[in-house]
Amino acid sequence: MAEHQAILKADGLSKRYEDGVLALDRLNLDVGPGEIYCLLGANGAGKTTTINLFLGFIPPTSGSCFINGIDVSKDPLEAKKYVSFVSENVMLYGNFTARQNLDFFARLGGKTALTKDDYYRAMRRVSLQEKAFDQRVKNFSKGMRQKLGIAIAIVKDAPAVLLDEPTSGLDPKAAAEFLEIMTELRSEGKAVLMSTHDIFRAKEIGDRVGIMREGRLVMERTRDELHNEDLNRLYIDYMESAGQPASA
């Protein structure tokens, strides 16, 4: 991906925590418009740290990350205007209805003029059942919450989407629906960075797949490169071997 096109970009991004653990080691990656980048790796590989750095929740030890060309460290508020975030367990306000949650997060995302119909449209798009629209979220299943989380991202309509293990714990049907929506987002030109353990779906949906190990990106393959490769085998190999930084 050419540099000027990247919506999400990490440039020599490193993070060492206060306890001395090097969580991320000189990460370089970029995600362009209409591209889904899947980050694979075991727990503690640095996937979530990467997302936390993009969201400005933690400062980098060195390097920079950019959203839509804006350095997150320098102007986090401006940078976050251009990104939506969906976490593993979509966190919502249990006593609010689905629409109230959607309305609240849409307003936080800067969408203040949306109507009830806009919200209903977004919820229909993620295949949330109609009867759930005005129900309190506290009784929603994980799949329903995940759908609502994506609806929030859709409503915000940011050019970049960060997903932290979004299919974890979803049933196959819900996971399939989720991937369908991701495909739609890609077709709308969104840059999607998704951390996941799900090798099968990463191969299925990812335009590029990176494997992280001990804070480093040890492998990166495009969809075409993966076409004739066994990603599962590759993943296991990289996890077992001492990783080397991937070449750009």
């Binding site: 936390n52 969201l55 929740f57 933690i58 508020l77 401006e78 976050k80 205007k81 990104v83 939506s84 975030f85 976490s87 367990n89 979509v90 966190m91 919502l92 306000y93 006593n95 609010f96 109230q100 609240f104 997060f105 307003r107 936080l108 995302g109 800067g110 915000k156 960060l162």
Partner: protein, 480 residues
Amino acid sequence: MWRTIVKKELLETIFSYRFPLFAVICLLLVPLSMAVNQAAYAKRVRDYSDQVRLTDEAAAAIKIQDIMAGTVAIRGFRRPAPLSVFTQGFESTLPRYYEFTQDGFKPGESATDDETILSVQGKVDFVFLVQMVISLIAMLFASDMVSGEKESGTLRAMLANSLPRDTLLSGKIGGGFLALWVPFLLAFLFGAVVLMFGAFPLAGGDTAVRVLIVLLATSLFILTYFTIGIAVSTSTSKARTSLVAILIVWAAFQLIVPRLGDMIARLAHPVRTETQVSLQKSLLVRSLDTETAKELGRQYDLIFKGAPEGAANDENSPEQKKWDPIRDDIQNRARETKSQQLSAIDETYLQERRRQLDLAVNLSLVSPSAAFARFIADVCGTGELERAKYVEAVRSHQKALDNELFSKVKRTLMMHEGGGTSMSFSAQPVDASKLPRFTITPATVAETLKANARSLISLFVWLIAPFAFAYAKFIKYDVR
């Protein structure tokens, strides 16, 4: 953005189980406490009116012989404070009256004699509810506003947007406080309606202004405790830890610090009771009177020794002419000495009290609760300021009675060297209907504010400091 956060906090609180519980507590207890205290106030006012009427009747019937016999004791009653419906303060512990005699004044019994078991358990009034119930609920409401949202992950979801942290924090405080304040305000207004139905003089004098001050100060007090709760919440990462920390902080501010301040002040500057002081004054008066009587007897014996019979009863006898100025001089000096020494006792006592009070106040200002209670008690006329005004009025009334009543009779008691005693009187007419009435000039609102400058500064600091602390913490709060 701020309004979005406020609305969300408001709705989230309203939808929680805590809100209806709090609303019910407020709407039941606040008006109920006001109604109960109003009934008690009305009873005290009736007692006061009856007592004043009886005292006036007794004063009108005073005869010069009673004064000569030294049996006149006039009572000056303190009118119950109407705003004691909000806080009892010293209302039940102040003497209901003072008794004025030619030898000085002494306190009567306090109003606690007709109280119920509540005297032992502690009274439930508006300020008590605010201090012990609403402040705790305010802190509990705030306990999970940051740490709870971190734990549930919603804080992360919010801050993944272009949302400044200071906006989020102030929105949380604004919305959370509003959810607390509205039920409280409704309860307060409901209580005010209950009072008005009970013929409470809410619109009389500056009462309305004082009630508004009570409302404003209480609202700020609740906000203070709510912000302290938020500050605790920003210092922890788990809602349960916040809860425990909040209970400890609340107990320290509400129960420990104010009492500790008082205890330290009592230990550092012990003060005698008012009854002890009265006793000391009585003993002094007796001792001085005895000395004066002995001096008079000695001088009398010197002058009239060897005088012709009847010289003592003859106004024109040379002995009598010599005796009159000497007697007057001795009595005037004795009166002056007595007055000086009694004033010195009073002054020493007041100084002791002032020193103890100053220390207690300064120490208790560490707690916003103590500052609040002192301020509201003074605004409602049941605090330290009222006590000082009461004492001032008592001293002033004693002087007025001395001038208008007790000085009209001059008793000359003499103790002769041989052991015998004799007494003579001279009296001027007294118009009992023109005797001064006992009144306490209440502190004005401006005086009250001025006298409570330290409490107000403490409340102001407590309003700002937790917010500043919470802000500093939240800006760096780890939301992961």
